[in-house]
């Protein structure tokens, strides 16, 4: 009963959003996201509301599981694009073993990306355009630093989004993926500094809590804000 009330509220919010009168709470959400560097749909402008218009970028509508899955799909696209670039031309100081493991990670992320694409079918967002201009792909330090950022952020994203998933099957699938991301994160962290595999203190900004032995967890708006600098495509977030 209570949940129905909540859903109705969401619908009202959505309707008012489409009519151009954003509630204060939604406005703050959008304003916050905007400040964080995410391109947004011009809220309230009726003629711009077509979220499927390719020129409008990708829309993540968190009203249901499709929104959460598309969110995961977006992040996996980003990760896969990064590792494809690394694996195709690894930094010259990478060892044979490192090259082999980065090949593995590349294909894990490709597997995740393609899985979400197929699972979403016609509901899938399009391909994102990425921006890796801030990464020096010839430098092991730069590549490993970026890889760690992507993996830790991925862990935070899945941990924070789990509670939004309504389908048991997809909740378990997200669980199956997040532990692999955590394995990647630990491996890459150990490459940068052996023993830092689970340095939760360093992950405080991503929602980790060392005293509780708890890993990172972030809400989608914070994750997208952090990922924003790597994504050229406008990502519109609604019903968060």
């Amino acid at each position: 009963m209570k949940n129905k009330e909540l859903e109705t509220q969401n619908e009202i919010q959505e309707t008012s959003f489409l009519n151009g009168s954003l509630g204060r709470r939604s406005f703050l959400q959008y304003a916050g996201a905007s400040a964080a560097g995410i391109a947004l749909v011009a809220a309230g402008c009726k003629k711009d509301r077509g979220y499927n218009d390719v020129n409008m970028g990708a829309t993540l509508d968190f009203k249901d599981d499709f929104g959460v899955l598309n969110y995961a799909y977006a992040l996996e696209q980003l990760e896969a694009a990064f590792y494809v670039k690394v694996a195709s031309a690894p930094p010259s100081t990478f060892t044979t073993a490192q090259k082999a493991y980065f090949q593995d990670i590349q294909f894990h992320e490709i597997a995740h990306r393609e899985f979400f694409k197929n699972a979403l079918g016609t509901s899938a967002i399009g391909s994102l355009e990425v921006d890796f201009s801030s990464i020096d792909f010839t430098s092991a330090t730069s590549v490993l630093g970026a890889a760690q950022a992507f993996e830790d952020l991925g862990v935070a994203a899945y941990n924070g989004a789990g509670v939004r998933i309504k389908s048991t099957d997809y909740l378990v699938l997200a669980g199956k993926i997040v532990s692999v991301e955590a394995r990647h994160a630990a491996y890459i962290r150990d490459l940068i500094s052996n023993g830092s595999f689970a340095d939760l203190t360093s992950l405080t900004a991503l929602g980790a809590n060392n005293a509780g032995g708890l890993d990172a967890a972030l809400t989608p708006d914070k994750v997208l804000a952090a990922a924003g600098k790597y994504i050229k495509t406008k990502i519109n977030v609604i019903n968060l």
């Binding site: 393609e114 899985f115 509670v163 692999v180 060392n210």
Partner: protein, 285 residues
């Protein structure tokens, strides 16, 4: 973090939850006010205290069962690492990076024990201590207290089991704020597993090819420790939600990468079977 979802989940178990809560509106109000001030990580403790107020005694069955189950596994892990670190034998776990890593892991397991005890409103002594465990598993790992390689093999089994165990409980906690906490523990266990796998690869005879992730083998067990077959049963799976991952959409994803890219879950009863190998008397039921 949606309190209404939590209540909805409880309603499935206890149809009278709203009635129980309504005469205690102050408890709810206190809880919400407290919720604004406390950190995310402390939430389970606050939840525990709210349920305590609503029920007088204990949490609803399903949530309690999951938390107690998780607590038992954390007791097992903490006692295992703590024993190894407190043994006087200097050569057992080498000083330096190995000892530091095991200490990090040990401390996380203790933090999980304390967090779960708090969520369950358990005060006082731990309900499982070192004396309750037999880490040789009845002699299968007979030299676990003296041989570093054996120690690492058992640690590996515990960490990979932990990852699978938390994953398997996620559906019961679906939509519940406790789920986020459980997921945060789950991925820490996965980080541990990744590191222990690297320690095994570096130190255990014949295991140099072990990857930080679980590679494909016919029976799912990529560790070469046959006694741990049960820990890895099903990890060879390459089909997710009916979608074949190997070579998906014409990509070059290999069978092993397909199996590696998704960790599988274990049911509670399968995890208990594994854990009970190390618990002679106070077995998990």
């Amino acid at each position: 973090m949606n309190i209404l979802n939590i209540l909805d989940e409880i309603e499935k178990v206890d149809g009278e939850i709203y009635e129980r809560l309504s005469p205690r509106r102050k408890a709810m109000k206190d809880f919400f006010n407290v919720g604004k001030k406390i950190s995310f990580a402390a939430l389970p403790l606050a939840l525990g205290s709210m349920f305590q107020k609503a029920y007088g005694q204990s949490n609803p069955t399903s949530v309690t069962e999951v938390l107690n189950f998780a607590l038992a596994l954390e007791y097992l892990e903490w006692n295992y690492y703590n024993r190894a670190l407190t043994l006087a034998t200097a050569t057992y776990i080498p000083t330096g990076a190995p000892r530091a890593a095991i200490t990090t892991i040990r401390d996380h397991e203790r933090a999980h024990v304390d967090l779960l005890k708090g969520a369950l409103n358990i005060t006082g002594a731990d309900s499982y201590t070192f004396a309750d465990f037999d880490f040789t598993a009845g002699g299968i790992f007979g030299d676990v207290y003296t041989n570093y390689q054996t120690f690492l093999k058992v640690a590996l089994a515990f960490e990979d089991t932990g990852v699978r165990a938390y994953k398997g409980q996620a559906p019961i906690l679906k939509g519940n704020a406790v789920l986020t906490t459980a997921l945060q523990i789950h991925s820490v266990e996965a980080r541990h597993a990744s590191h222990i796998r690297q320690m095994v690869a570096a130190n255990v005879t014949g295991a140099s090819g072990l990857k930080p992730w679980i590679a494909y083998t016919g029976n799912g067990n990529d560790t070469g420790v046959t006694a741990a077959d049960g820990v890895y049963a099903g990890e060879q799976n390459t089909t997710q939600a009916g979608i074949q991952i190997t070579a998906i959409n014409g990509t070059a994803v290999t069978q092993s990468q397909a199996a590696e890219s998704f960790d599988e879950f274990l049911t509670g009863s399968d995890v208990k079977k594994i854990a009970n190998l190390f618990i002679p008397i106070k077995k998990l039921t």
